[in-house]
Structures are given as C-alpha cells and as structure tokens.
Symmetry: none
DNA sequence: CATGAATGAGGATTCATTCAT
DNA sequence: TATGAATGAATCCTCATTCAT
C-alpha cells in the first residue's frame, strides 16, 4: 500500500518555500539544492513534483497570475462608470503588488528566464495583451462618455499603465522599499486620477 | 616596433559589440566566446581589455551613466521654473530611454538577475539616490511656489517617477515596443503634467 | 531510500588514489580529471568530497600529520634519558619518511611550488615550529645532564636536524632511492649519534 | 646597420632579473610578463634570448652549477688528507648555499619543473652522481687511511651528505632563515666532523 | 515514494607563445 | 632587433539532472 499524499498540496508547499529562496537569491542564483534544503527534502524529490527548475518558477507564477486575473474582474465589476472601473483596476494592481510582494520578484525572474531560454520571440505580449485590452476598452468607454480626457491615445495610455505596474515591482526589487507602501499607492493613484480624468464630468 | 593600438578605442568597440550580444542573449546567457566571436577577436583578447565579464558591462554602464548625468543637468537648466524643470527632467529621461535603449534593456537584465552578488561596483543605488534627490528638490520648490499640487508627498512622488522610468524600460524589454515611442513619451509626459501641475498657476 | 555511502571512507579512498597521482605527475601537473579517472569516478564527484584540488592534499596532509604527531610522542616516551629520547626521535622521523614516502614526496613537491599562495591553511611553519621546540628542549636537557656536547648551539642543531629530515625527503624525490633505506637510516643515525653524544657519559 | 649588442651579456642580465622574480614568486607562479616587466623589456623580447620559460631557469641553473663545479675542485685541492678534503668539500657546499642563496631557490624549482615535464625517468642521478662519486672516493680513501670511521657505508654516507645539502637549501626556502648562517654552517660541520672522524688519527 | 550520490556538459579565466610591424 | 597585441589550448569548478537503492 503506497503512502498516499496529496501531490498537489506538497507541490504547492515546496514551490512556496522555493519562492522565498528565489526572492532572496534571485532565480539564477538559486541552486536546486538550496530549495531542497530550505524545503527540508532531498534534491531528487524536487523532481517528483516538478519537471525542472523553471517548472517551479512557472508553477508559482501561474498561481500569482491566476489570482491576479480572478481578482481583477471582481475589482472592476464593483463600479459602474468606465473611469471608476479604470481607477479601481489601477488601484487593484497597485494593492496587488503590495499583497503579493514576494511573488513580484518571481514575476520578474520568470520573464527574464523565459527570455533567456527562448532565443527569439518569446513574446509576453499575449499575457500583457489581455491586460492592455481591458485597459484600452475602459479608456475608450471613458473617453466616449466624456469622463476621460480624449486627448490621450488609448493604446499608449494603457501601455503606460502596464509599464508603471512593472516599474513599481522592479524598482522595489532593486532598491527595497523606501517609502511607505500605502502612501506610495495613494500617490500613484492620485497622479493618474488627476492626470487623466476630466474634472467637471467626474464631479458632476 | 610593436603594433600600436588605441586601447581605449578598441575597448569601446568591443564593449559596444558586447552590448548588442547581451541585448540579444541576455547577460547571463552570453558566453565570453559569443562576445569574442561577435567582435571578431579571440577569447583571450577580451581579457586584454576587460578584467572579466562584468567589467565589460560596467564599462558601458559608465558611459551610459556619464552621458546621462551630463545631459541631465543641461536639460534641466534650460528652464527656470521648478515645474518646468521637473517636466523637462522627466521628458529628458523618457527620451533617454529611447536613445539608449539597448543599454537600458541590458542593465535591467543584469540587475534583475545579479541580486545575489550586487557588490561589484555597479552603483545602482547611488544612481537612483542622486536622481531621487534632484526630483525631490524640484518637487519641493514647485510646491512652495504653488506650481505643484501640495497634496503630493514629495518622497513618494519622486520614487514613483523613478519607478515609471524603470517600468518603461523593463516593459519594453519584456514585450518589445508596441506603441510608437514618441507618442508613448508624449502620453506619459501629459499624464504626469496634468496630474501634478496646478493649472491656474501654470497658465497664469 | 538513497544509496548510503560512507563519505569519510570514500573521501579517504579518493585522496589515497589522488596521492599516488600527485606523486607520479607532480601536484601542479595533476589535473582533476586525472584524479577522477584514476579513482574511477566522475570529475564532479571529486567536488562532493573535496572543496578543491588543494583540499585533497590537505586531507592527506592532515592524516599524515596526525599520525606523525601521535607516533612521535610514543616513540620518545619509550626512553628516559634526553639523549636517548633525542636519538629515538630522530630515528623515528627517519623511519617515518620511509613509511610515508609518497606523502613526503608530494608535500615537498607542493610546498616548493606553492610559495606564492601559502596561506591556504597548510600549517607548514606550525609543524616545523613544534618539531624544533621539542628538539631544542631535548638538546638542552641533554646538555645539562652532560650527555650532549655543550659546544653545540641548540637552536642551530635542531634546525639542522629538521633540515636533514627535509633533505632526505627531497633528495629521494629528485633521484629516487639509490641506497637501501634501512642502511641509509642507520648511517644517518650513527653520524648524528657519534657527532653529538659525549661518549664518556653515554657509556658510563 | 644593425644595433650591435652582446647577446650573451643581455641574456645574463635578463636571467639574473628573472632569478629574483623566481625566488619571490616561485617558478610556476612567475609569468613571462612578470619577468619582462622586472627586466624592463617587452614580453616578446624574452624569446629573442630564450627558447621558452624553462630555458631561462635552465640558463641560470647552469650558471649556478658551473660555478659550483669549478669552485668545488678548487676547494678540495687545497688540502691533502682525504678527511680534510672531505670536510673542506662539505664546508664549501655549506658556504655555497649561503653565497648563492637566490640560486638555491631556483635549484629546487628547476628539479621540480624538470620532474613535471618528463613524465618518468628524468633522472638527476647523473648530476648528483658526479658529486656522490667524489664524496665516495674521499670517504673510501679516508677509511683506508684510518681517518674516517670504517663502520660507515661510503655510499650511504655520501648520499646522506648530498641530502643534507639539499635539505639545508629547501628548509631555508620553506621557512626562511631563523638561525644565523655562519653559526648554522659551523654547527653542521661540527656534527659531521665529530660524527665521522676517528679522533685519535686526526689528532695524531 | 524518497533520496542523495554521481555525473559531465559548460563556461570563465589564465598565460606561454607567436608574429606583424 | 624589439615589441606587445593577439591568441586559444588548457584547466578548474558549478550545478541541473539522473538513477540505483
């Protein structure tokens, strides 16, 4: 009678430990043995749960992304106006970088390693594309309803938002946090709100 | 009489080639032999001009940083008002990411994977620190003169600007460019300008 | 259940093989792959048991030194008179060079070329210092009790003995053995005995 | 009209500088560029005067050995009795290690590298053989004339003398000098004299 | 299932030697 | 003759992955 274990659960437990190690040492700087040691299991055991090193990263990234996607829709649908939805979305992403801070490091690691593996053309545009799509639609709607300054190019603006999201993550990764997170979040939101929203309409 | 070579010039030529290789293959994914081959020289020759792999990057980084610092002051000093200076500074950095695109991409790549051994004399925090200092001073001045919305926390705002700078670079690294650069630059500048500047004062 | 290996025993087996390779090819001339091949294992496996090349030697050196130190005290304490102890000590060291011939040869080889980086924890001077200390004390005692010719300077004489020890080893390394070892040992002992001991007292 | 230089003289000047570098860094630890730099010439120039790195060492060794051989005969022939000749010879060699101290380091380096180069059988016995031959003859003569203790095996004793010579050199190389050289020399000579010479005969 | 011992491909770096000038 | 720029063979060491137990 084989020992019965919840493979899924153990995989999650392992990758969760791995995440903290990745966070500390960076993905390329982390050895499989580091992970095994931190998880208190044998090196070989890792391969019972994951195909290879990248697979651990991928697994944890997927968790991150799934949660992100699911929560995103929820966050948007609370509000009704396009501009409100848009701000809610942005606020959500900023909050998400705080809540899933450890994963954000992985997020960067994931892209870097993915880029390195595939000589050319590993395009993340598909993943980002989804996000930009949502943003663009909201911007368009907001511009049509007069809530958002029509002077903005929707594609450029949505790309900017995604870039800001990435930037906040990586800058924190590089320098650590120097400013209080919630203050930082509010600052960012204010800047975007002031910069984008047509005041008369919002207030009216 | 020996062959006479302009060592400085050749070092620059090599590191310049190396940079494009780093861009294509990523820093960790680039072998010294790749660089040598691309530069049309022997592997050993690299070590006549550079201490090690990181030294090649450091060399280009210095060039980048020197140019950045020098141009920055120039860009700022054209204008007189704090808010104008601030916008000029932001505009300059955005333009700089376009002009030095390869360098930016490679640094992001390097720093996001180096983490573990970030002590080799790449003055990342020094560069960011300097930048934030300048930003904060301008924001403060602008707030005192009433040009910039006093509701903003200067430290948070300057960190946000630097984050946006990083974000633009890394997002481009991940996805390539999907939006016209100049349009993108203008969009970012507009958002920041609208979001931060007190209109009455500016127009007055 | 993993393969269980007596790491200590395997390390000794490997280093033991390595020693013979060092002896044959010289320390600098021995490649890690030579050792691996001779030991019938993979190159990487060496690093499971030893930090680096020098560590293999260090391991054998420790074994040698431990055995040397332990046996030394034993050899001395059999006799009671200082002069007898001294001769026993010298006799012991001469015998030791025969018994541990390979080790001796390799150390000479190592130390005569290492010079530049003699800081890695080979306690050469410590070993010599200890030895000279013991020798000097015995000589002094012997001189006080009238067994040893008081004309000798104790420090110089003990340094001479250690030099002879080194000389016997290195000469054998260079030329191989041309004279029967036991005869050689006896000759050396006689010379020293005759040269140092005050006859009247010994015989009396 | 070519620049006329005394090739021999320049070679000697170079190898003389090289010697001091070898002494300091050891032969394997000395780079050709180190020598060139110390000699104030270009790296390539070394190859105008020497076939390769080993050739520089060999050159300097030859100088040493030639001087040694020539002076040796001189030293011996001053005295007439075998035992006096023998002691003079030993005294000469001891003095020689003091006078040619720098070369002694090279002497060891030379043998080590020679051993490393030739997988097997690089036998120094020919060189040492000459020395041992002389020693053995003197010992035999001394024993026949009753000056030297007939209990000694001449071959073993002469090998011992050569070993002591080597030992003094290498021990000094390892540990530096701790005892005054002249005192050390006298001590060694006394030990040998007392140990070997039949007193009655010498004095008689 | 679990393990960790074994592996070897892979890469950075060194340095004696060559050779164009 | 003198040079030093260029070279690439050679070697150490790392670490993801495999597999016998």
């Amino acid at each position: 009678m084989p020992k019965i274990v919840d493979k899924k659960a153990k995989a999650r437990a392992i990758s969760s430990v791995a995440l903290t190690v990745f966070r500390k040492r960076g993905y390329p700087g982390t050895r499989m043995s580091d992970i095994a040691e931190a998880a208190g299991i044998g090196k070989g055991t890792l391969y019972e749960y994951f195909k290879d090193k990248a697979d651990i990263l991928r697994f944890e990234f997927d968790r991150y992304f799934e949660h992100f996607s699911a929560s995103l829709l929820e966050a948007i649908n609370k509000d009704s106006r396009p501009s409100e939805k848009l701000l809610a979305l942005i606020d959500f992403t900023l909050g998400h970088t705080i809540e899933w801070e450890d994963h954000c490091a992985v997020y960067m690691d994931y892209f870097s390693s993915a880029r390195a593996d595939q000589d050319e053309g590993f395009s993340l545009s598909c993943m980002y594309g989804q996000m930009k799509e949502i943003l663009m639609n909201l911007i368009h709607e907001g511009q049509e309803s007069g809530e958002i300054d029509p002077a903005f190019n929707a594609a450029a603006l949505s790309e900017l938002f995604v870039s800001i999201y990435d930037g906040i993550i990586i800058h924190r990764l590089f320098t650590g946090q120097t400013v209080d997170r919630e203050l930082f979040r509010k600052t960012a939101l204010n800047l975007i709100q002031n910069g984008m929203i047509v005041q008369g309409v919002m207030k009216g």
